[in-house]
C-alpha cells in the first residue's frame, strides 16, 4: 500500500513494509548529515548497531531509520530538535 510521510518538511513516498531508511534512500542518495561536519550519511549497518541512521519524530523521540517502519503521515527530522 502506498504511504507518504515527511522528512525535514519534504514529502517522501513509501510502500507499506518499507523502513524509513529504505524509503528515504529510494528517494535520494542521503539519509542525514553527520553531526561532525563531514557530509551526508546513508546509515551503514542496518542492524541497530552503528547508530548512523538516527532521526527524530515530531514528539522529539529518537528513532533508528533502519529499524522503523514508515507510518502514513509520520513527520521526521534529520536534526536533533534539542540542538536546533
Amino acid at each position: 500500500m502506498p504511504l507518504s510521510f515527511r522528512v525535514d518538511g519534504r514529502e517522501v513516498l513509501a510502500l507499506e513494509g518499507d523502513t524509513v531508511l529504505t524509503a528515504v534512500l529510494l528517494a535520494g542518495i542521503r539519509l542525514r548529515e553527520s553531526e561532525f561536519g563531514d557530509g551526508p550519511r546513508s546509515g551503514f549497518c542496518l542492524m541497530r548497531a552503528c547508530q548512523d541512521c538516527w532521526m527524530w519524530t515530531d514528539h522529539n523521540d529518537r528513532i533508528q531509520a533502519c529499524a522503523t517502519f514508515v507510518n502514513q503521515g509520520m513527520v521526521l527530522s534529520t536534526r536533533n530538535p534539542e540542538l536546533t
Binding site: 513494509g17 518499507d18 529504505t22 542496518l46 548497531a49 552503528c50 547508530q51
Partner: protein, 452 residues
Amino acid sequence: MTTIVIVGAGPAGVRAAECLVAAGCRPIILDENDRSGGQIYRRQPPGFVRSAQTLYGTEAAKAEALHRSFDTLAGKVDYRPGTIAWGLHAGVIHTVKAGRVDRIAFDRLILATGATDRIMPVAGWTRPGVFSMGGAQIALKFQGCVPGRRPALVGTGPLLYLLANQYLKAGVTPAGVFDTTPFRRQLRLVGGLAWDPRTLLIGLRYRLELVRWGVPVRCGIDPLAIEGDPAVTGFVYAKSGKRHVIACDGVALGHGLRSETQLAELAGVSFAFDRRTRQWLPQRDEEGRTPLGTVYLAGDGAGIGGADVAEIEGKLAAWALLHDLNAAVDDGERTRALRQLRRAARFRAALDAGFPWPHDIAARLDDGVVVCRCETLTAGELRRVAAEGAPDLGRAKALSRIGMGRCQGRYCGSACAEILSAALGCDIADVGRLRPQAPTKPLHVDDVEASL
C-alpha cells in the same frame, strides 16, 4: 521459580529457548529485532511474500525449521521483541523498549548476542551508498533492496561470494568482488574439505557463478579509496603494485565478523586474546558455561562459528544450564552435539586461515582516513596519541575519544587496535581492548528519568 533470560533470538537463542521449554522452563527472551531469526535468518516484514528459497537459498530449510521451532514456542516463552539489553550489573539486566526502560533480576542468563561486521576502514567509507556487508545483505533479505545498480563488494570472507550470488539472483550484477585475501592464501580453505565438504562446494559454486556471469573477482587487493561527491562513483584499489579504478554506485564493505561481547564483559566474564582471529573473546567451557556460574554463552557472540554452530551451542548452553540446576539432560544428544561442534571447529579453523582479517592494512592507512565514523576521528589522530605516550587502547580512548562515540567502538575497535599496535610497534595483545560501559547502546536520559 527460576528466572532464566536469553539475550538474542537468532539461531543460538532460539535453540536454547526450545531446549529450556522442553524441560518445562519459561525463559524470557530479549530480541532487538521485531521478529525472531537473528540477522542471518532475518524474517521479512509481515505481508512480504518472497519464498524461503528466495530469501535463504541453500540454507532455506534450516531457516524455515528455526522459524517454525520458534513459532511453536509462542505462549511458552516470555518473548520481548524490539527490546535492547543495554546494561548488566549484579544479577540484573537492564532493557529499553520503545523508550521504556525495565530491569530483570535473573537467576540464569544465556547470552546469544550475535555479531556485527568487522571493518577495516578505507578512505571514503562514510560516504552515502557504502554499507556494511551484513547491512547490504539485510537490505536485500528484509527490504528487497540493493545499494546501487552496480555495487562493488569489498573486504574478505565467505559473505562476499554469498552476497554477490544473492545479488545476481536478484537481477543485480555487481561491479566486482574485491577480496583483500590473496588467492593462494584462500587455498587453505581446502583444509576444511574433510570437515564440511558441503559448505566448501557451495562456496566453489558461488565462485563459478561469478565467472559465468563475468563478474570480476580480484583477490589480494589493497583498498585505497571509495570515490564520490557525495554519492559513490568508484572504488580505487591496488593490486600487484598497480592502481585500478572501477566504476560503481554503491559499496558493501566487510572483513569477516566480530563478536558482540559487551554484555559478557559487563557480567564479569574473563576474556582472552584469540591469536587466530585477533579478537578478545569471553572464556567459556565447551558447553558455554562461564566461571560465573550463572551466565552461559552461545553462538557468534562468544566467538564466530556461523549459524550451524550457533544452533548447536544454543542447545548445549541450555542443557548445561539445566544440568547445573539438577535437571535431567539426554546425555546421548549432548555427546552428539559436542561431536558436531568439534567437527565444525576444524572447518572454522580452515575458514579463518583462508579468509584472514587483513590486519596489515591498518599500518598503511593514510593519516587522513576516518577510523571512527561516529565522531570522524582519523588514523592520524590515533597515531598522534600513540606518539604522545598512549600505551594501550584504554589510554588512547581517554586521549582521543576513540570508541566513545555512539556505536561504542563496534565499527572502529578492530582497526584501532591494529593501528595502535603498528604505531607503537608492540604486540596486538598488548594494546588491550576497548572496555564496554553501560549503556552498551545509546539511551535517552529522559527515558531513564521517566522510569525512576
